[in-house]
């Protein structure tokens, strides 16, 4: 129990009655996917099972699952993988989709997130997929619309469908059963997440999900991109500043792009970063010839990872993208409360 949850419990039992708790998601419509924190291990297992079921279906059968249903994609930030895979996932299930982006809508005229959400709801959207540069935007949208909201990345906070697709990729590539999980599924598996942890919603999502399934997460990066506060993400997480040491222990290495758009004036010595943290063929051959290489994209070839490693035999980067489509079908079905 977190301190906050403890205080909440104490307050409810006794004097105080302050609002909310960290894990309280009762304020959100069932089927919302805002943060991996809100998912129980059973929820994760359910999503994996649904993913497998949808994958086994024929295309024609799959195209009937969400027929007549409407989902809106609301994108305040650019995206290739996430937007396309959500859209293709929804369409492959027969749903009607509409895309609203900040560049071509009344958002440019100053319409608030709340009003944009209420407008989409009034137009018949039954769920909203949101990408937004502000942490917490998905929670806000879910609260004010009462609709199931799928968080497709909110600021530096969370990208829960990415964590789920990373999980499925890991399970498949390690030869495990990808249809279910429990608290021990990833016992003995060490995942090294490396690079710009501070600005990464993927790092937060993976680091908060994988340890709950038994994995050990090693965060690796310089203090400017990996503050000690990262340990507050939960248990089963440690910080290792030396990439070679982290790599030597890892079964999986997740490389992250340096998010220049979020550096906020901070000047990073890229040459030094490359020297210390780039995943290149020499490092891989010398230290981790069997490690599974992952990256949520976009990749900056030659910076955090070299082209030959990204394209190499140990890389699961393209598979991650494919699993994105599979996982996003399942979370859409879950959001709309359909039994498939």
């Amino acid at each position: 129990m977190t301190e906050r949850a403890k205080r909440a419990a104490t307050r409810e039992a006794g004097a105080g009655l302050l609002s909310g708790t960290t894990t309280d998601c009762s304020a959100y419509a069932a089927g919302s996917l805002l943060s991996v924190e809100h998912l129980s291990v059973a929820d994760v297992a359910g999503i994996l099972a649904m993913t497998a079921r949808l994958e086994r279906m024929g295309a024609a059968e799959r195209a009937r699952v969400l027929v007549g249903r409407t989902v809106a994609l609301l994108f305040y930030e650019s995206s290739t993988r996430t937007r396309t895979s959500f859209e293709l996932a929804a369409k492959s299930l027969g749903a009607t989709t509409t895309l609203v982006s900040d560049k071509s809508s009344s958002i440019e005229k100053g319409e608030s997130l709340k009003d944009t959400g209420l407008t989409l709801r009034a137009l018949g959207a039954e769920a909203i997929i949101l990408r937004h540069p502000s942490s917490g935007a998905a929670s806000l949208l879910a609260r004010v619309t009462g609709l199931p909201v799928l968080n497709a990345g909110d600021g530096m906070h969370q990208h829960p469908s990415q964590a789920l697709l990373d999980l499925r990729t890991i399970l498949l590539r390690l030869g495990r059963n990808a249809s279910t999980v429990d608290a021990k599924t990833l016992d003995g598996v060490t995942v090294a997440i490396t690079g710009d942890i501070l600005h990464s919603r993927v790092a937060r999502s993976d680091a908060m999900l994988l340890p709950r399934l038994g994995a050990r997460v090693v965060l690796c990066g310089p203090p400017e991109l990996l503050p000690e506060g990262a340990l507050g993400l939960g248990t089963g997480i440690e910080i290792e500043r030396d990439f070679d040491r982290a790599l030597a222990r890892a079964d999986v290495v997740m490389m992250l792009r340096i998010q220049k758009e979020r550096l906020a004036g901070f000047d990073l010595d890229l040459a030094e970063f490359i020297e210390r943290y780039q995943l290149n063929a020499e490092r891989l051959a010398a230290i981790a010839s069997r490690v599974l290489v992952m990256h949520p994209g976009p990749i900056i070839r030659g910076l955090e990872i070299t082209g030959e490693v990204a394209d190499g035999a140990q890389s699961a980067i393209e598979e991650q993208v494919s699993q994105g489509l599979a996982i996003r079908r399942a979370v859409l079905v879950r959001a709309l409360g359909v039994k498939a």
């Binding site: 009655l17 609002s19 960290t22 935007a137 906070h157 937060r204 906020a264």
Partner: protein, 440 residues
Amino acid sequence: MSEMLILNGRLVDPASGTDAPRDVLVRDGRIAAIEVPGGLASVANSLPVEDQIDATGMVVAPGLIDIHVHLREPGQTHKETIATGTAAAAAGGFTTVVAMPNTIPVNDSVKSLRWMLDAARGPVVKLLAMPAATFGSLGSEITDFHELVKAGAVGFTDDGKPVLEDEVMRAALVAAAGLGVPVSQHAEDTRLTSGCCMNAGRVAFRLGLRGMPEEAEARIVERDLRLLREIERVERVRPHLHVQHVSTARALHEIRRAKAAGLHVTCEAAPHHFTLTDEEIGDYDTNAKMNPPLRAEADRHALIEGLLDGTVDCIATDHAPHASHEKEVEFERAANGITGLETALGLALRVLHREHGMPLSRVIALMSAHPASVIRLKERGTLRVGSYADVVVFDPAAEWSFAAGASRSKSRNTPFDGAAMVGRVRATICEGRIVYRASS
């Protein structure tokens, strides 16, 4: 001649060291007599019943004084007006409030100060003001301290932002020292807090929000204390620095050391900072967003310790009303601040008196005599005979839940909706007039 009697109450007046059953006679806006119960029976017999308050079981204390409120008038009257903000003050037991200058336009001239303090604004309680320390609160050129003090200024501040430049702050401290008023500093090195919207640390990391480091507060406090020392040595005057809403253990530590070294520094703490931590933000609750932000548990404890040992001079609310549409937005875009006038006494009594054993008279002192002394306010903050009849009558044992919907403020932005309070105001009297009376 108008008279009022407050009978059978427990009079707690820290300034005169009184804590005993007393009857109080108010005449023409002043405290006219204080007697043991029954001592004013002859007056009682001749005074109509409606002019007598039965304070049996109640505490009768000096009206509370809040030296840090935002009343939003002129310029942002959709959030609050002087009339609604002071009505909230009266409901919270306050009889004097000091308005901050970050109105639109900024209160930085004699003209704007006079407009604000004009009776036409309809203040329900005594309204004072701290005008801006610099023109437009832009931090470059100090305002006309001399003329502003003549027009009623009780101090100077650019609250909401710091006076960042060393030379400007030095000039402000020197000018204020000559006039016997404090410079109130919002201690935040904004060069370290760009884009930040909460406390730095584990919670900020988890939420993916940029955090303000404690250094941002400490650095300005340390700089200002250094200026105090230099000015005392070089200029041979003794400036008064008042540090607003101290929120970190580190800044408080510096203030404690400076006090021990004999510098004239005072500071205030806000109820939310000694009641809540950054965990309260939960799932991006913008009603837990203010500046300075809610800090870590260690900081909260340090504040309580500072309140207990006297390092913290007074409690001030930083009452900062905002409309719902200014809070119902993305966390990092949401306005800073929460309302505080109606929850201050209930939280102070709950947290400081009940949970941490602070004597009732000390809680009252922190909210009346001490803030009066910070701004050198005479004849208020005490119930001595001859003082203004600024009185709060409250039930010290009452336990209740605050309901934001019932607030007198125009705004509802508080994390304390439904929160437990100890001690409930029954009546507030300002200069002999009843300005608030509980309905039941």
